[in-house]
C-alpha cells in the first residue's frame, strides 16, 4: 500500500509481544493491531469498538453486551461473542501472565477459578449467540462497562490463540495474522533484532488507516533515541522520559492530555522510622514541592499535584488541604517524634529511582531533608535494583505511579489507597477502615451519582491526614511523536486512540 | 688420612619432567646415577666434568637441597637423604654451599650486613649485641672491611660479592662447604685471589670442601682428590696427583688433553673426542661414554662398568681399564 511510513522507536530490546500480557512496553502498541471491546478517546469519552451496546440490569449485576455485526478478524472471519468470551478467559488464565486483567474482570462471577488456573471457563460470561453476551458480576458495579473499555484484554481469534488446554498457543500472534483484529497487522516481527513492522489490515472493520506501514525499532539508549528523533530519522517513540525532553524535541513531542495517573513517593508505614506518623509528617512538611517539580520537570510536560487522584471527575476538591511547606514545624515534629530528632533516625531508602527525573526528584527530597531537618542517612537505588519480591518491606519509600483506566475517582482510590490495592499492601502497608469503607461505598454508586465522587473525596482527605506520601506530579499522556505526525493522541489506557488516523504531514 | 666426614652410597637423582607441546608426555632426566664416595674430613674433593653431567646435582643432593631419589648420605651417623626441611635444619649449620654466580646468590634487596646477620641470628650463633663484632670478624675473614656491611650487592665488584657469599657460608660456622663453580664467574685476575682465600679459610677453620669446577687446572691446584663425572655417573675417582699424572679412564684422558695450555709452543699430544654429549634424557645404554669412546667395544654397550679400585685410592669405571699401566691402550678398531 502507498502512503506514509511511521518509523518509531521502542526503548526495550527483548520483549514479549503477546497482546495478552496487559502491560509492559509492547502493551503501548496494542491498539495498533488489536481491537478492544470499547475504548476511551483522548477526551475520556467512551467509544464503541467490537462492542456497540452495553446495558446493565437495574442492580448493576448483570450486563448485556452487543457485538458490532461488521467486526472482523484480519482473515475476514467475523468476530463472535465466543471470541470475546474466549479472549477474556484466555487473558485470565495464569499462564498468560496478564498483569492487569484483575482491573477488568475481577468483579465477574467465576473469575477467581479461571485466575487460579482451576477452570478454563468463566461462568459469569455467557455467549448467548454470535452477537450478544451476558456478563454476571458477583456484586453490583455501576461502572463495569468502563472497565471493559481498554486493551488489557484485547479481542483475539480464539480458535487461533487458545489451545485445547485453554491456555495461550505460544507465539500465536506471530504465526498468522488470523488472530489480529486491529487496523494494522504484523508484517514481520524479528524478535532477535527487536524490529517489528505493521501494515494495514485489509479486513479491518473500522476506518481505513492512512499509514502504509509502521516500523518499530529497538533503541534502548535515550541519548541516541533523542538524536534519532531530532534528526528526523524516526518520528515516534514508545515512551521517552528524559528531563530535557521538551528542550530536545519540543513541546509538541511531549504534549498531550492529562490522564488519570499520578506519581508520588509512598511511605512504608511498617518500616522504621515511617512507623511514626510524626516522622512522616515532618518528612512531608520539610519538602518544598514547588521545588520538587522544578527539579524534576522544569519544562513540563507533567504538572505538580497535591493529591492522590488526578484527571478524573472529582479531582478538584476544594476541601482538600494541600500539605504545606513548613520546615519549622517539620523540625519540631521530628524532635517530638519517638526518634527524637534526625540523628537517631534509621536510614531512609528510596526505590523505584529508575529514571533521571526520578533520580532528580529523590535527590531533591533528600537534600531538602538534609537542609531542613538535618537528615543525612538517605539512600536511593538507581536503575538496576528492582526492590521487589518478598523483601520489599525493607524499603521506606517507593516512588510509583497510581491511576486508573477509567475516568472514575472511586476506582482511582480503590487501586491506590484502599487496603486491598497493591499499592497499599505492597508499598505502604496501609489500612484505614474508614477509608476502605468510604471507597467501598463509593464503588456501589452509579457513575453519575454525585455521592460516588464526594465519598471518594472524603476518603482521600482522610488518607491525607495519615501522612503517607509526598505528592509529586500528575501525568500527561504524551504523544511521543514529532510535530509532523498527526493522530498520535493517546488515552488514559496508554493506547493510541485512533491508530487508523495516524498520518505524517 | 682423617676420618670420613660424609659417606655417600648409591646416590641418584631423577628429575621427572614434562615434554610435548602441551606437557602431556612425561619423561625422566637421570641427572645423577649411583654416586658412591666418601668425603674425608679436612680434604678438598673436586668434581669435574662437562656441563650438565650432574656435578651440581651431586652437591645439591648431598646438602639435601634437592631431595635424592635414591641412595644414602650419612653425616655424623645420621642419614640425611630423606630428611624433611625441619629435620634437616640443624645440619644446615654444618653443611654449607657457595655458588657460581655470587650476584644472583645475594638477595638484591638486602644489605651485606643483613644478609650475613640472617643466618647468625636465625641459628642463634650470636646475640644482637654481639652481632656487630661477629659481622666485622666475618668480613675480615674474607678480606673485606666493615664498610661493606651497609652496602647492597649491586654496589660490589664480582670478587667482593664472591667474598660476601663465602662469608655468608662461614657465618654458620660450617664444617663442610660445597663450592659449586665458586670461581668460574670471576675475572681471571681475581680467581686466584678467591682460590687463595678458600685455601686460607680451610687452614684456619679446618674446613672440608666439595669443589665443583670445570677448569681442570684450577682443580689440580686446589684438590686432594678429584672425581670425574660423565653424564650423571662417576667415571674416575683418584687422588689429584695420581689422576693428573696417570688418568685411566678414556674420558679423563680426553678431558685432560682438551685443556688449553698457556704456551704457544706446546705440542702436547691432543686426543680429540668426536661427537656431542648425549642427552641425559635418553642416556646411552651400558657405559654412557661408549658413543664417543675410542676404546668402545661390544661389552660397553651392554654392561654398566662398575667403579673399581685399580691402585690404592684410584677408582675407575671402565671395562677397558684393567691395570694402572696405560700402554695396553690400543684403540680397538670398530
Amino acid at each position: 500500500q502507498e502512503g506514509p511510513v511511521l518509523k518509531a522507536i521502542n526503548p526495550a530490546f527483548s520483549q514479549d509481544w503477546s497482546p495478552l500480557r496487559g502491560g509492559g512496553v509492547p502493551y503501548r502498541w496494542n491498539s495498533v493491531w488489536n481491537a478492544s471491546a470499547m475504548y476511551f478517546n483522548e477526551k475520556g469519552e467512551i467509544q464503541p469498538y467490537v462492542l456497540t451496546e452495553w446495558t446493565p440490569s437495574a442492580d448493576f449485576v448483570t450486563w448485556t453486551l452487543k457485538l458490532n455485526p461488521d467486526a472482523k478478524f484480519a482473515d475476514g472471519s467475523a468476530i463472535t461473542a465466543a471470541d470475546v468470551k474466549g479472549s477474556w478467559e484466555l487473558s485470565a488464565m495464569p499462564a498468560s501472565q496478564n498483569q492487569r486483567i484483575d482491573q477488568v474482570l475481577a468483579g465477574v462471577a467465576g473469575y477467581a477459578a479461571a485466575k487460579d488456573g482451576t477452570a478454563t471457563d468463566i461462568s459469569g460470561i455467557v455467549a448467548n449467540d454470535d452477537g450478544t453476551l451476558t456478563v454476571t458480576l458477583s456484586g453490583p458495579d455501576p461502572i463495569f462497562f468502563q472497565r471493559l473499555a481498554n486493551h488489557i484484554a484485547p479481542i483475539v481469534k480464539v480458535s487461533v490463540a487458545r489451545g485445547a488446554d485453554g491456555n495461550e498457543v505460544p507465539d500465536f500472534f506471530l504465526a498468522a495474522n488470523g488472530a489480529t483484529s486491529g487496523p494494522f497487522m504484523l508484517e514481520s516481527a524479528n524478535l532477535d533484532t527487536g524490529e517489528l513492522v505493521w501494515v494495514p489490515n485489509p479486513n479491518f472493520f473500522g476506518p481505513k488507516p492512512a499509514l502504509a506501514r509502521i516500523e518499530l525499532t529497538a533503541i534502548e539508549d535515550n541519548v541516541t533515541a533523542t538524536q534519532m528523533l531530532a534528526s528526523g530519522e524516526y518520528q515516534a517513540h514508545t515512551e521517552l522520559v528524559t528531563s530535557t525532553i521538551v528542550q530536545d524535541l519540543g513541546a509538541d513531542f511531549a504534549g498531550g492530555a492529562e490522564i488519570p495517573t499520578s506519581q508520588h513517593f509512598w511511605f512504608n508505614t511498617a518500616r522504621a522510622p515511617m512507623d511514626d506518623p510524626k516522622v512522616r509528617e515532618a518528612l512531608i512538611l520539610a519538602v518544598d514541592r514547588d521545588g520538587l517539580i522544578k527539579a524534576s520537570f522544569p519544562d513540563g510536560p507533567h504538572q505538580k499535584t497535591d493529591m492522590v487522584m488526578n484527571a478524573v471527575p472529582g479531582a478538584d476538591d476544594a476541601a482538600f488541604v494541600p500539605y504545606p511547606f513548613d520546615p519549622e514545624k517539620a523540625k519540631a515534629l521530628l524532635a517530638e517524634s519517638s526518634y527524637g530528632g534526625p540523628d537517631r533516625l534509621p536510614k531512609i531508602m528510596f526505590v523505584g529511582i529508575s529514571s533521571p527525573a526520578n533520580e532528580a526528584a529523590a535527590q531533591y527530597i533528600a537534600e531538602q531533608w538534609r537542609q531542613n531537618l538535618g537528615i543525612s542517612a538517605v539512600d536511593m537505588k538507581p536503575q538496576q535494583d528492582q526492590y521487589a519480591g518478598p523483601d520489599q518491606n525493607a524499603i521506606q519509600i517507593f516512588r510509583d505511579d497510581v491511576g486508573t483506566r477509567v475516568p472514575d475517582a472511586a476506582s482511582y482510590l480503590a487501586g491506590s489507597i484502599a487496603s486491598s490495592s497493591g499499592n497499599a499492601t505492597g508499598k505502604m502497608a496501609y489500612k484505614n477502615d474508614k477509608v476502605d469503607a468510604l471507597i467501598a461505598e463509593a464503588l456501589t454508586k452509579p457513575a453519575d451519582d454525585p455521592a460516588r465522587i464526594s465519598l471518594a473525596q472524603e476518603a482521600q482527605r482522610l488518607f491525607r491526614d495519615d501522612f503517607c506520601f509526598i505528592p509529586w506530579y500528575k501525568q500527561t499522556m504524551s504523544r511521543w511523536a514529532t510535530a509532523n505526525v498527526s493522530g498520535m493522541e493517546k488515552n488514559l489506557d496508554w493506547q493510541i486512540v485512533a491508530p487508523w488516523a495516524i498520518n505524517i504531514a | 688420612m682423617n676420618a670420613p666426614l660424609i659417606t655417600i652410597k648409591g646416590l641418584s637423582k631423577a628429575f621427572p619432567i614434562r615434554l610435548g607441546a602441551f606437557g602431556d608426555k612425561a619423561a625422566v632426566v637421570r641427572a645423577l646415577d649411583d654416586f658412591t664416595a666418601t668425603i674425608i674430613e679436612g680434604e678438598t674433593l673436586s668434581l669435574v666434568g662437562e656441563s650438565g653431567c650432574g656435578k651440581s646435582t651431586t652437591g645439591f643432593c648431598i646438602l639435601n637441597l634437592q631431595r635424592p631419589s635414591g641412595g644414602s648420605i650419612v653425616y655424623k651417623g645420621q642419614e640425611l637423604a630423606q630428611l624433611d626441611d625441619d629435620a634437616m635444619r640443624p645440619f644446615r649449620r654444618d653443611l654449607q654451599i657457595v655458588f657460581q654466580d655470587p650476584y644472583s646468590t645475594l638477595n638484591p634487596r638486602m644489605t651485606i650486613g643483613e644478609a650475613l646477620s640472617e643466618p647468625i641470628l636465625f641459628h642463634k650463633l650470636a646475640t644482637k649485641s654481639e652481632l656487630p663484632a661477629r659481622l666485622s670478624r666475618l668480613l675480615a675473614d674474607v678480606g673485606l672491611s666493615d664498610r661493606f656491611a651497609s652496602r647492597y650487592p649491586h654496589e660490589l665488584s664480582g670478587g667482593q660479592r664472591q667474598r660476601v657469599a663465602i662469608a655468608r657460608a662461614l657465618a654458620c660456622e660450617p664444617r663442610f662447604i660445597v663450592c659449586d663453580e665458586a670461581i668460574s664467574a670471576l675475572d681471571v685476575s681475581v680467581q686466584a685471589q678467591i682460590l687463595n682465600l678458600l685455601l686460607d679459610l680451610q687452614d684456619k677453620y679446618k674446613l672440608t670442601y666439595l669443589f665443583i669446577a670445570h677448569d681442570l687446572a684450577v682443580v689440580r691446584h686446589i684438590s686432594d682428590r678429584v672425581g670425574v663425572m660423565y653424564l650423571g655417573r662417576l667415571a674416575e675417582l683418584a687422588p689429584s696427583s695420581d689422576l693428573f699424572a696417570n688418568p685411566l679412564h678414556p674420558y679423563t684422558r680426553a678431558l685432560l688433553s682438551a685443556v688449553p695450555e698457556p704456551d704457544p709452543k706446546s705440542s702436547r699430544q691432543r686426543q680429540r673426542l668426536q661427537g656431542e654429549v648425549p642427552s641425559p634424557l635418553n642416556p646411552p645404554s651400558g657405559c654412557r661414554f661408549h658413543t664417543r669412546c675410542p676404546l668402545a667395544r661390544e661389552k660397553c654397550k651392554a654392561e654398566v662398568p662398575a667403579l673399581r679400585e685399580i691402585t690404592p685410592g684410584h677408582q675407575v669405571a671402565c671395562h677397558a681399564v684393567t691395570s694402572a699401566t696405560t700402554t695396553q691402550w690400543e684403540p680397538v678398531s670398530a
Binding site: - | 667482593q160 681471571v188 685476575s189 686466584a192 685471589q193 681442570l216 678431558l255 682438551a258 688449553p260 680429540r272
Partner: protein, 329 residues
Amino acid sequence: MTALLDIKSLTIDIARDNGPARVVDGIDLTVAEGESLGVVGESGCGKSLTMLSLMGLLPNKIKATGGSAHFAGRDLLRLSPKELRKVRGAEIGFIFQDPMTSLNPVMRIGDQIVEALVYQKAMAKPAAMQRAGELLELVGIPSPRDRLMAYPHELSGGMRQRVMIAIGLAGNPRLLIADEPTTALDVTIQAQIVDLVRELKDRLKMSVVWITHDLALIAGLADRIAVLYAGTVVEDAPVDVIFDRPSHPYTRGLLASLPTLAGKAMDRLPSIGGTPPEPGRRPPGCPFAPRCSLAMPACNDALPKLAPVPGSDPRHRVACFVTTEKGAA
C-alpha cells in the same frame, strides 16, 4: 703484510644518568691480511663493544665517540647505515659469544644461514639453501642437509656454535671476528671449535680476530695477541713474545696467576690484588696503577701510550711507563 683492519684511538662512551662514561679509552689495534689476532682481557674491559662498534651494532645509548677504524681503506665508523650493511656479513663475519641466545629460536637454522646468503650474495633461495648445506658440512656438522630443517633448540651447544660459525662464514668475509665463541661450551667441545676455526682460517685465508679472556686458549691459535685492560690496550705482541717475555705488569700478573696442568701444583697462587676499575670510575692515569706493584707516582698522572719495548721484538709494544723506561724484564 698490509693492515686489513686498522683501529686508531677508538673511544666508546655509554650515556649514563650522570653524563657519559668512557668504556673504551683510545684503543689501537691492527689486523693484517691473513693474520689472526687474539684480543685478551677481563670481563667488561670493552672487548665486545670495540668489535661491535666496527659493525655499527652498538646497543642504544652507547656510541663510538672518537678515533677511526679503517677496514680495507674505508673508515667503518663513518659509513652510512646502508654502506655498513654491505660490510656486515660480506666483508666482516661475526661469531657471537653465546650460541644459545645468538640464534633466533623460532627460525630453522637453514633459513638463518640462507638469510645471510640472500642479502649479502644476492643468491636465489634454492641455491642459497644448497650453499647452506655445504657450509654446515664445512663446519663439521654430521648429516648437514637434514640439520637445515632443525630449530636451534634441537641442537647441542657445540652444534649451535658451529652453526654460528657457518653464518659468520656465509658471506665469505675477509675478516672473521669471534667474540668469545667458546666460553659457553664444554672443554672437549671448546677444543673442537678452536681446531675448526684454525683449520678454516688456513683454508679460507681469512683474517681472524678472536676475543677471549682465556690466555691459555688463545695460545695455540693466534699469531699476535693484544692484552686489554680497562678500555685500553696495555700490551700488543706476537704470541710467543707475550708468553715468553710479558712486559706489562698486568700481563705478567695474569700469566703468573694461571694454574697450569703442566707445572707443579703450588700451595698458593700468586695473585694480583684488588679489582679492575669500573668504567666511568677509572683513575686519570694508568688504569692498572692502583693494583700495580711497580707503580711510580707518574703512573697516576697520565695514561701511558703504546710504545715499543726496548730490546724486544719490534712488534712488541706496551703501554707502561715503567717497562718502557726500564726495558723488558
